[in-house]
């Protein structure tokens, strides 16, 4: 038989004759399995439909005032910004306590065990049930970045009107062939990859790419938005918009918002011409909490971008239950003090901290949450009074590495 045996027409004909196959299960069988899935059971559904929007609405009103005030005030001088931030923080904590009281009981009972974690590392770590097992870190550290890859950070839109910072590594060979640049800016990376990243496959909304167009002039990024952009539709939507920008374009110093006619954008939620959003690289003065998407996948993320005036304050506040969306990474029985010693910030555990006594993932989350908080202030941490000298790649006799990015994910392109 020669190649002529198969004309394209014959191939198409054969393809059209592929037998139809059916699911032999009954409808009831399919439905029964769905009823048994905790992700869809009554409590979970109730959570999605009733309290999450309510909590998000409350949280977004609180955090919007925080975020917009913080963002708009960032053009003021440093000390004024710190004072504002401290004042806002107390407002936020009070507000969140009210929220906590309202629906505190829902959190523990409703969030279910992970069945479909989005993160590769989560999948691997979920098999570890005790602390002696090896677990992988979820953040990205300097020693994990080889010469042939480039870091791409992105803020993904979570279920709770929040941004979840994630980090991808893209092979330089791929970047060179697709962008032509060896060291592209965050904007070039964004424009090449953001629309192709399969956010839905990770369990997030398909949020990227942003509407409108971006242009860069020096360290200023300009976002020109169409009339119907919708980012200011609600307080929650503008929070996600600002926070994802901050999590994505960290090599610019500010972001300006323009209408298509070149005039300054006035967001509905602010009621005045927008001021540039100050970007301070990865130094965002946040602390980190555990955030669970509704599909059960877990991420370490700042609490709606809440800022703190100092690293020690941020670290100490990690013990507080923040709200129903973000939970503390610090086990209840773990207490610590924070001391600044030269360039180093030390976390001194009150009682000897035996990591083997905790679930390995819980211990890893705690350590990484602290390190990410340190990184958010650009500072190096050292931990004292840890029973283990070394644990899962961390050497506690030395200052610990500063993470480059949170929540490293496999680059999954559409």
């Amino acid at each position: 038989m020669s190649n002529n045996k198969w004309s394209e027409q014959e191939i198409e004909q054969l393809l059209g004759q592929v037998p139809k196959v059916q699911d032999t299960r009954s409808k009831d069988e399919v439905l029964k399995r769905l009823h048994e899935d905790s992700r869809l059971n009554g409590i979970q559904t109730k959570k999605r439909k009733s309290w999450v929007p309510a909590a998000v609405a409350i949280a977004s009103v609180l955090t919007l005032s925080l975020l917009t005030a913080t963002m708009l005030n960032q053009s003021n001088d440093e000390s004024a910004q710190m004072a504002d931030s401290a004042a806002e923080e107390s407002v936020s904590i009070t507000g969140n306590e009210a929220l906590e009281e309202q629906s505190m009981t829902m959190m523990e009972s409703e969030l279910t065990a992970d069945t479909a974690p989005a993160s590769k590392k989560s999948e691997e770590t979920y098999t570890a049930l005790d602390s002696s097992a090896e677990v992988h870190n979820t953040a990205l550290y300097p020693n994990e970045i080889s010469d042939d890859v480039t870091v791409f950070k992105l803020g993904l839109a979570g279920d709770a009107a929040n941004s979840v910072p994630v980090t991808f590594l893209i092979p330089k060979s791929m970047i060179k062939s697709e962008i032509g640049e060896e060291t592209p800016s965050s904007l070039e990376l964004y424009e090449s990859y953001a629309s192709r990243i399969d956010e839905e496959a990770f369990g997030f909304f398909e949020y990227h790419p942003y509407k409108g167009t971006f242009s860069a002039e020096g360290a200023t990024l300009r976002h020109t938005l169409p009339n119907n952009h919708g980012y200011d539709m609600a307080s929650g939507t503008i929070t996600v918009y600002f926070q994802t920008l901050l999590d994505t374009f960290q090599d610019f110093s500010q972001i300006e918002f323009l209408n298509e006619d070149g005039t300054t954008m006035e967001f509905d939620q602010q009621g005045e011409p927008s001021k540039p959003l100050e970007v301070n690289g990865a130094i965002q003065h946040n602390n980190y909490f555990l955030y669970k998407q509704s599909d059960g996948s877990e991420y370490l993320a700042p609490n709606f971008g809440q800022t703190y005036p100092s690293l020690s304050e941020a670290l100490l506040q990690m013990k507080r239950k923040s709200n129903d969306i973000y939970t503390s990474l610090i086990p209840r029985e773990v207490n610590y003090e924070v001391e600044k010693e030269g360039q180093l910030t030390k976390i001194i555990f009150t009682e000897p901290l035996d990591l083997e006594q905790f679930d390995a993932i819980v211990a890893m989350h705690m350590i990484e949450g602290m390190l990410l908080t340190g990184a958010s202030f650009g500072e190096t941490l050292q931990m004292e009074n840890v029973v283990q000298k070394e644990w899962n790649g961390f050497d506690f006799t030395q200052p610990l590495p500063v993470p480059v990015g949170a929540n490293e994910l496999t680059l999954l392109l559409k």
């Binding site: 038989m1 020669s2 190649n3 045996k5 198969w6 004309s7 394209e8 191939i11 198409e12 054969l14 393809l15 059209g16 004759q17 592929v18 037998p19 139809k20 196959v21 059916q22 699911d23 299960r25 409808k27 399919v30 439905l31 399995r33 769905l34 009823h35 899935d37 992700r39 869809l40 059971n41 009554g42 559904t45 999605r48 439909k49 479909a116 590769k120 999948e123 994990e144 970045i145 080889s146 042939d148 890859v149 991808f168 590594l169 893209i170 092979p171 791929m174 399969d198 839905e200 496959a201 909304f205 509704s294 599909d295 496999t410 680059l411 999954l412 392109l413 559409k414």
Partner: protein, 180 residues
Amino acid sequence: MNDSVFHRLYDQYHQDVFQFLLYMVKNRQTAEDLMHEVYVRVLKAFSKFEGKSSEKTWLFSIAKNVAIDHFRKSSVRKRHAFDFFDWEKQELRSTEALPEELAEMNDEMKQLLIALDECTGDQKMVIVMRYFQDLSISETAKILSWTEGKVKTTQHRAIQKLRDRLAGHSDRRQVHDEQQ
């Protein structure tokens, strides 16, 4: 969980989506698991469905993502430098034996399905959608978030690749026959 939504979606689309998944993974148990995952994602997100696309293309786009996720998870992944999975360029190869009913097909059809596994992910996806599911070019483009031009080009390349692969199989068989 909204049972009435399930009943409607099941009645209208279940067998189509199941067939799509079964031809993607070629294992009935896996297809059942993935179908379950599709329902979970759909039912969780149904209230957010904005009607920007048809319900059918929306369902298939979720099924496509679930299938890609399955191949991604089961692929051998190395950390970092090669730590990405580009489903369009890689094969979405199922290592499974054919399901029972497919095993009874004639040789040509079996060779065709084997050849399909040798296509790149984007080619396999387009062939299954266009020929097995009878989805239009426009529907396929919407599901894959591609232009219609890209669907047509990918389909054309897939057919050419299948032709080459099948010719290769036929030639090998002919040589084998002649040697006997």
